[in-house]
Symmetry: C2
Subunit: 230 residues, 2 copies
Amino acid sequence: MNIAVLGTGTVGQTLSARLLVLGHEVMMGTRNVQEAKIRTTKDVYGNPGIGDWLKNNPRVNLVTFAEAIAFGQIIINATQGGKSVEALRNGNPGDLDGKIIIDIGNPLDFSRGMPPVLIPELCNTTSLGEEIQKAFPQSYVVKTLNTMWCGLMVNPAMIAGGDHHNFLSGNNPEAKLEVKKLLNQFGWKDENLLDLGDISSARGTEMILPVWLRIMTAKQSGVFNFKVIG
Amino acid sequence: MNIAVLGTGTVGQTLSARLLVLGHEVMMGTRNVQEAKIRTTKDVYGNPGIGDWLKNNPRVNLVTFAEAIAFGQIIINATQGGKSVEALRNGNPGDLDGKIIIDIGNPLDFSRGMPPVLIPELCNTTSLGEEIQKAFPQSYVVKTLNTMWCGLMVNPAMIAGGDHHNFLSGNNPEAKLEVKKLLNQFGWKDENLLDLGDISSARGTEMILPVWLRIMTAKQSGVFNFKVIG
């Protein structure tokens, strides 16, 4: 399948690499291709910049947001939450219509120091997932995978044989089924995929981030996930 | 130990009954004792009003907030999050000084329909736990137990032999140790108690509520909890 991954951070990198291994055609979209190709600045967590990463992943095709959106049958949003709607707006008119947008973004606000809070305008009474769905009503937004470290997103079996939970939110049942098939390819078993209902339930999963960050600090590791027991 | 339970909802009822069984002296505090004693209105989830409950639990001593606060060596806040600081302010000057306040409250806002959101002024960039600590700087606030159904709070072994997680947030390590001892009495094992750090980490645990409510809806049951895997 042709898949567009928007965003060049570690989440976008990890998803793109895994999708290529699985045999998908991948285009990674970014705002400014030339700038990204030479970017070596590490992110806030010390992960390599996209420029360094691309040298080791030459098969990844880095293109503009618009080119990636035009190419993808499925669009994965792995951009910064505060800039996701803007990134998706780079698509040519109609290029997102009828397509599934898998939204992995989190509306984190790093402007007030660490750990980040959520962007107040994008949480609690709304969510990034909902705002994307509102901005692109002809698309099928499915929020998923945003509650864990990216290594686990694409390889859940890394801990506890994959027996922990990933949530899904979205208005369209068929779109959620399609996304589940892709998650199955990553190694997610159906019994570990918990459908929380329509896209407004993304409020809940995005609001997991603050406790996720505190647990990461307490455990000094991001290699963990939640399992719903009972 | 003398324990004050503030709040007459199902959480306060469940905690009070369990503490009595464990041999503690319990006073349940409320705003208006006479009104509460005859209250039969069910809550938003259909649980019995405190008036009906007291008939079946005659050993519980229902008193004013002030009387309960004066009595308790430990104060448990199980009032509605939006009214918790106000409830605690009913104490006589100095009556909370040097005491542990176990804060189980959640700042839920039911005014916008179901499921509730969090009260915007009490989430994300602050939390109920932090606001209580600010209002009573001579007390030791420990946020805990607020991320699960009250039946599990006092009887974690009800599911998976108790092997799921309860979080603690608070500025004072000794106070958290004291609270852990009480949690041990409820059946919590130390390895299932996850200390997330200072009271600001209560932002994270309070923000679990929205996804908790969605999972409850998806599972049609509140008898579940989170386990941190990995």
